[in-house]
């Protein structure tokens, strides 16, 4: 696979302004480049700016300063609606709190981004079923989120992130609300997306196992990149 940058962040800063002179510098000059097919873990203490960074990469938020390129396209100046299109076509997002729509069934939740892309219900549901099968929820398709365990909900969320077949999956502490065993399953699922389907994965995690299996670990502290670690070779590990 040709190595090209799917993400390029240039001098990203993010300030939260609360009132006149209360300013939080959540990110202070971040430069990151992520290549196609990479599996990257972002690690750092609480409040260091990991989620803020993920939201900016996920086009859910825009930086105060700096530029974000996704597959070569500058998204930092895009309008709301253009960002919505980037979100549903180029990116899949997995949240710590799953963030499923409680009134919809598993299948409907998974189908949602495809429905927003203008695909008819029948086609979207068919594809959603396929994906739910892939994440091992064949017999939970019609369940509502509150009828599913945390691990199952997170698998629904992962299936949802895949529905429009994006190249990039962003996951913010996907195992944060899960016990060790279900956490492990999610870790393996994400890893297989990277290894078998070639998805670029960026994951924020405190989960040591998850972090260690990544190709690269980026340590964030106080809104800056503290250091990076690169796995020598993916093949050697096997």
């Amino acid at each position: 696979m040709a190595k090209r940058a799917v993400f390029k962040l240039e001098k990203i800063t993010k300030q939260y302004r609360m009132g006149e002179d209360v300013v939080t510098n959540a990110l202070c000059g971040i430069d990151i480049e992520i290549e196609n097919g990479e599996y990257v873990a972002i690690i750092g203490p609480s409040g260091s700016g990991k989620s803020t960074l993920m939201h900016i990469m996920g086009c859910l938020d825009s930086p105060t300063k700096g530029r974000v390129f996704i597959e070569g396209i500058d998204v930092s100046k895009m309008k709301d609606n253009e960002l919505a299109v980037v979100r549903r076509e180029k990116l899949g997002f997995v949240f710590q709190a799953y963030n499923l729509v409680n009134t919809l069934t598993a299948v409907e939740n998974v189908a949602l981004p495809m429905r927003f892309a203008g695909v008819g219900r029948g086609e979207a549901v068919r594809r959603a079923r396929e994906l739910l099968k892939k994440v091992g929820l064949t017999d939970r398709m019609g369940h509502k989120p509150n009828q599913l365990s945390g691990g199952q909900q997170q698998r629904v969320a992962i299936a949802r992130s895949l529905i429009n077949d994006p190249d990039i999956i962003l996951a913010d502490e996907p195992t944060g609300n899960l016990d060790t065993k279900s956490g492990q399953e999610i870790v393996e699922l994400l890893e297989s997306l990277n290894r078998k389907m070639g998805k670029t994965i960026v994951v924020v995690t405190h989960h040591l196992g998850l972090a260690q299996r990544a190709d690269r670990r980026i340590y964030i502290k106080d809104g800056k990149v503290e250091r990076e670690e690169r796995k020598a070779s993916r093949k050697r590990r096997r």
């Binding site: 859910l60 919505a84 549903r88 076509e89 949240f95 963030n99 729509v101 009134t103 927003f116």
Partner: protein
């Protein structure tokens, strides 16, 4: 756009949705039932005018059109007025009700023809003869009283024989029992008096000036008032205008309240679905998707309310018509139903706008954080 989701959302809050629908339904009910009266009056007046058109009517001076039942005019006036130049024909009739048969009237059968547009044909039998205790029935009255030619009816404590049945006329005469002038005067205790005098001018365009002449010359002395069908039409228009104004006022208030109810409910729905809306935006819904979703919900509620309101109106109007007893009927015309529904839908759209905008502008991250 996502009808599947829409229905689910509305069904999730059955009580709330139901109450909102009821609010809208009451709005429609008010507009439609009041409007149906205006429509009914228009139709009623048109019917009346159809067979009094071009005629001059003479009634008691201080009586207005709606109190016509209480009009009493001295019979001798007929002979006096008959001499006025330009009059082709003149006739008086008596109209009243009796407890036994309801509408009961007396006319001069030899002059039936003078009512233009009143080309009355007998379905069966003949007209009553002078001096005989005989009646002829409108077709509705025949059905209502379950009487046919040869049967006898008690009227004013006396026995009358049914000698004929009229064909349908399309006016309230269909529901009347009619006899000769003299007999009706007798039964209704109106000896020497008629309810109304009807004059047919030689030239219809002279009707106004003849009526004015009668009012000037005889008005005060005989305590009578002459009017043309134009006067009746004007009066009716005044009445329907008043009804329309009232319908508009009440309808506006009802719609305004319905609009506020809808807006409130939609704001509530948006507030408690902040997280869901945020999630949808996070996974790729545009502002427009959300806007349309909330607007659609608002319109769906309004539409359901409108349909419920229309059904309710039909029931209520029918009930009221049953009370009125057939002389006058409130009518729900298709245009009334359509216009009031369209009006309420516009209210629903307006009411949904602000909540929909608010929802569409939610910041996905903040909405997701909100727990």
């Amino acid at each position: 756009m996502m009808y599947d989701m829409l229905l689910g959302e509305l069904m999730r809050h059955k009580l709330r949705t139901g109450l909102t629908i009821t609010g809208v339904a009451i709005g429609i009910l008010l507009i439609v039932s009041l409007g149906s009266f205006s429509e009914g009056i228009k139709i009623f007046v048109d019917q009346q005018l159809a067979y009094s058109s071009g005629l001059i009517t003479v009634i008691k001076q201080d009586i207005s059109f709606e109190g016509i039942m209480y009009s009493k005019v001295d019979e001798n006036v007929i002979d006096e007025l008959a001499d006025i130049p330009g009059i082709e024909d003149i006739s008086g009739f008596v109209m009243g009700t009796t407890p036994e048969v309801g509408w009961f009237g007396g006319i001069d059968f030899s002059k039936v023809d003078m009512f233009s547009g009143f080309s009355v044909e007998l379905d069966e039998g003949r007209t009553p003869e002078e001096g005989a205790d005989e009646v002829v029935l409108g077709y509705k009255a025949a059905e209502r009283l379950d009487a046919g030619v040869g049967d006898s009816l008690k009227i004013g404590g006396r026995s009358f024989e049914v000698v004929g049945i009229y064909e349908e006329m399309g006016t309230e005469d269909d529901d009347s029992v009619i006899t000769t002038l003299a007999k009706a005067q007798d039964v209704l205790g109106m000896d020497g008096e008629v309810t109304m005098v009807i004059i047919k001018p030689e030239d219809v365009s002279e009707a106004r000036s003849i009526a004015d002449f009668i009012n000037d010359e005889y008005g005060d002395s005989e305590e009578i008032k002459a009017g043309t069908d134009e006067d009746v039409r004007k009066f009716a228009e005044q009445l329907t205008d008043q009804m329309s104004a009232m319908t508009f006022a009440m309808g506006s208030i009802a719609s305004f309240i319905a609009g506020i109810v809808i807006m409130n409910v939609m704001f509530m729905a948006v507030r408690e679905r902040r997280r869901e809306i945020g999630v949808m935006k996070a996974v790729g819904a545009t502002n427009r998707h959300i806007l349309i979703e909330i607007m659609a919900e608002s319109l769906a509620i309004t539409f359901a309310g409108s349909v419920a309101g229309l059904v309710l109106s039909v029931v209520v109007v029918q009930f009221i018509n049953g009370f009125l007893g057939g002389s006058f009927t409130a009518v729900i015309t298709p245009s009334l139903a359509l216009e009031s529904t369209a009006f309420l839908m516009a209210i629903g759209a307006l009411a949904g706008m602000a909540p929909a905008r608010q929802a569409s502008r939610l910041n996905p991250i903040e909405a997701i954080r909100y727990e």
